[in-house]
């Protein structure tokens, strides 16, 4: 069972709490994430999943608590004590963030090639031919026709945009990717194809992933471990199959049974 404990944790989350005024976003969340591990955060709408994900990814400062991350040099750093320059570098090299709405994660007014190449240029790539061939390669890996490399994502379907967003994030070979409802808003058949692709990429690249979803089928397909949230609290956590096959909390049982009815 100690599949990931052979190494040191990649991310350590200590009592992360976020208030919006006096309203609770998420409360006292603690967990460790291990290299190569996929963690799903599930729960109903409004349960605090996005708030927690944004706190973890330094997009939203927690009201209390601490988050530590193992940098590429092996040192554990408190994320909210990084300089702005360090934080930006981390976000565009070692991390990825896949938004539910692809337009939030893409530059809609530049070509697919430039979207994929942007991170490379941000970290100093200055050879057009190399940038372009890397972009070309990544478009292939996310099953986008290479003919479309000079087209703007505005002309792409929802599924293609989402795949482009994934390519744009993975081009720097990040170790940790955050995803917020990456299959939300897509047709069922498009969802299935995207999930397949995600599963393959995550396994091939050995990515660590924190994925937020309200869809337990997505969690079951992609994740090793699961955290169930309700009213901002984590009410149950464990290996995905165990939690979904044998939920202990009545609320989780309710969630699981409601998908069985679908």
């Amino acid at each position: 069972m100690n599949l990931f404990h052979a190494e040191d944790p990649l991310l350590q989350v200590h009592n992360v709490t976020r208030y919006y005024g006096d309203r609770i976003g998420c409360s006292e969340v603690s967990f460790d994430l291990w290299p190569g591990e996929v963690l799903a955060i599930v729960g109903e709408s409004g349960s605090g999943k996005t708030t927690l994900l944004n706190c973890l990814s330094t997009r939203l400062a927690p009201t209390a608590g601490a988050i530590e991350y193992r940098m590429r040099d092996g040192a554990m750093r408190n994320l909210y004590q990084l300089t702005e320059a360090e934080r930006r570098l981390l976000m565009r090299t070692d991390w990825g963030f896949v938004h539910q709405n692809a337009a939030d994660g893409l530059r809609m007014n530049v070509s697919a090639g430039a979207n994929v190449g942007e991170r490379l240029m941000a970290v100093g790539a200055r050879h057009y031919g190399n940038i372009r061939s890397t972009a070309d390669d990544w478009l292939g890996r996310v099953e986008i026709d290479n003919e479309r490399i000079d087209d703007d994502p505005r002309s792409f379907s929802g599924g293609m945009r989402q795949r482009l967003q994934i390519a744009r994030n993975l081009v720097t070979q990040p170790r940790l990717v955050f995803m917020d409802e990456p299959t939300g808003g897509l047709d069922v058949s498009v969802q299935a194809r995207l999930l397949d692709l995600l599963r393959r990429l995550v396994a091939d690249l050995g990515l660590s992933v924190v994925i937020v979803t309200h869809d337990l089928a997505v969690a079951r397909l992609l994740s090793h471990r699961i955290m169930v949230m309700r009213h901002g609290n984590v009410i149950e956590a464990g290996l995905t199959d165990q939690v979904l096959d044998d939920p202990r909390e009545p609320y989780t049982q309710l969630l699981v049974s409601s998908i069985l009815q679908v």
């Binding site: 702005e84 320059a85 930006r88 530059r107 007014n109 530049v110 070509s111 090639g113 430039a114 190449g117 942007e118 991170r119 240029m121 941000a122 970290v123 790539a125 200055r126 050879h127 057009y128 031919g129 940038i131 372009r132 490399i149 000079d150």
Partner: protein
């Protein structure tokens, strides 16, 4: 172009103006911004831009910078599109003649201060000269990032990947870097700057120029500077290096090569000619006896005598 507007005579006739129009306190404020700009080459210094008696787009930023540095013994040259004779250049020259009473000139070598929009003179500038640019849009990152809070952060963190995204796009869509004006540069290995709206042909002149360069953007309330002999590099890719425009013919009137040429319409039958955009440079060469291939053509000679703004862009 807003060249049809005129500076109202009332401005000149209201009498008691301070030397060069601006009051001394305002000049000091602008000079402080200029000094800060010189200390941080390429950095955009915010300043409290004043209302000037002319519309934005006329070079109110450049006019304020010139007014702040002008002394009684200075000799001023005003250029617009390379020419001293457009309405804009004539009006701004007249403005300083009336409000400061300084000497003015069309000759590059004679001027101590040259205010320009679009062009840098062909003649190499000297240490005892200052070049003042009128800038419409000072922010090179704006094209891809409209948020001012974000562009400031990008400058602070030297986070300039986006500039190359723009150049990448240019090559992807055109096969080469198609940007010809306002071509972005990196100043002193630190700040990315927009030398707008000069043609990229003039970018090499900006690099290690002996003269001090001051850039003023009136509407956007920014001043920036390049001190003498500062390294200025035009952004590019290793496999798509920066190149200036090439002209395959010399100037039709004076025969000059390796200068920036404007295409001029000669008649309504489609007759055209390429001539120096720097009219002072062209005149001086002709006075020295240089003749271009079109010099004998009567229509072309007329252009040489009164080089109007009838250029093709």
């Amino acid at each position: 172009m807003t060249d049809t507007a005129q500076i109202p005579d009332s401005v000149h006739e209201q009498g008691e103006y301070n030397f060069a129009y601006l009051d001394e306190q305002t000049k000091r404020m602008i000079r402080r911004a200029i000094l800060k700009g010189i200390a941080i080459p390429g950095y955009q210094v915010p300043f409290a831009s004043r209302e000037m008696p002319m519309p934005y787009g006329w070079g109110t930023g450049g006019v304020q910078v010139t007014a702040a540095i002008l002394g009684k013994s200075d000799c001023l040259k005003m250029i617009d599109q390379g020419s001293d004779d457009t309405t804009n250049a004539v009006s701004l020259r007249g403005f300083f003649e009336k409000t400061a009473g300084v000497r003015t000139t069309c000759e590059t070598a004679e001027a101590t201060i040259i205010q320009t929009r679009h062009r840098i003179p062909e003649k190499t500038l000297r240490e005892d000269q200052i070049l003042v640019f009128q800038v419409p849009i000072p922010e090179p990152l704006r094209y891809l990032e409209p948020r001012e809070t974000e562009t400031r952060k990008m400058h602070a963190l030297e986070d300039y990947g986006l500039m190359h995204v723009k150049l990448y796009e240019d090559i992807a869509k055109n096969g080469h870097i198609a940007t010809t004006y306002a071509y972005p540069v990196k100043v002193n290995d630190r700040y990315v700057m927009d030398p707008s709206p000069t043609p990229k042909f003039d970018n090499p002149k900006i690099d290690r120029m002996a003269a001090l360069q001051l850039y003023g953007a009136g509407r956007e309330k920014r001043i920036y500077a390049i001190p003498p002999y500062t390294k200025v590099k035009s952004l590019d890719f290793e496999d798509y290096p920066f190149e200036i425009q090439q002209f395959d013919k010399p100037c039709g009137l004076c025969g000059a090569e390796n200068v920036y040429l404007d295409e001029v319409i000669l008649d309504d039958k489609g007759g055209r000619m390429f001539v120096c955009s720097d009219s002072d440079y062209c005149e001086e060469r002709r006075a020295d006896g240089h003749l271009g291939p079109m010099a004998a053509d009567p229509a072309a000679a007329r252009v040489g005598n009164t080089k109007t703004g009838e250029t093709v862009r």
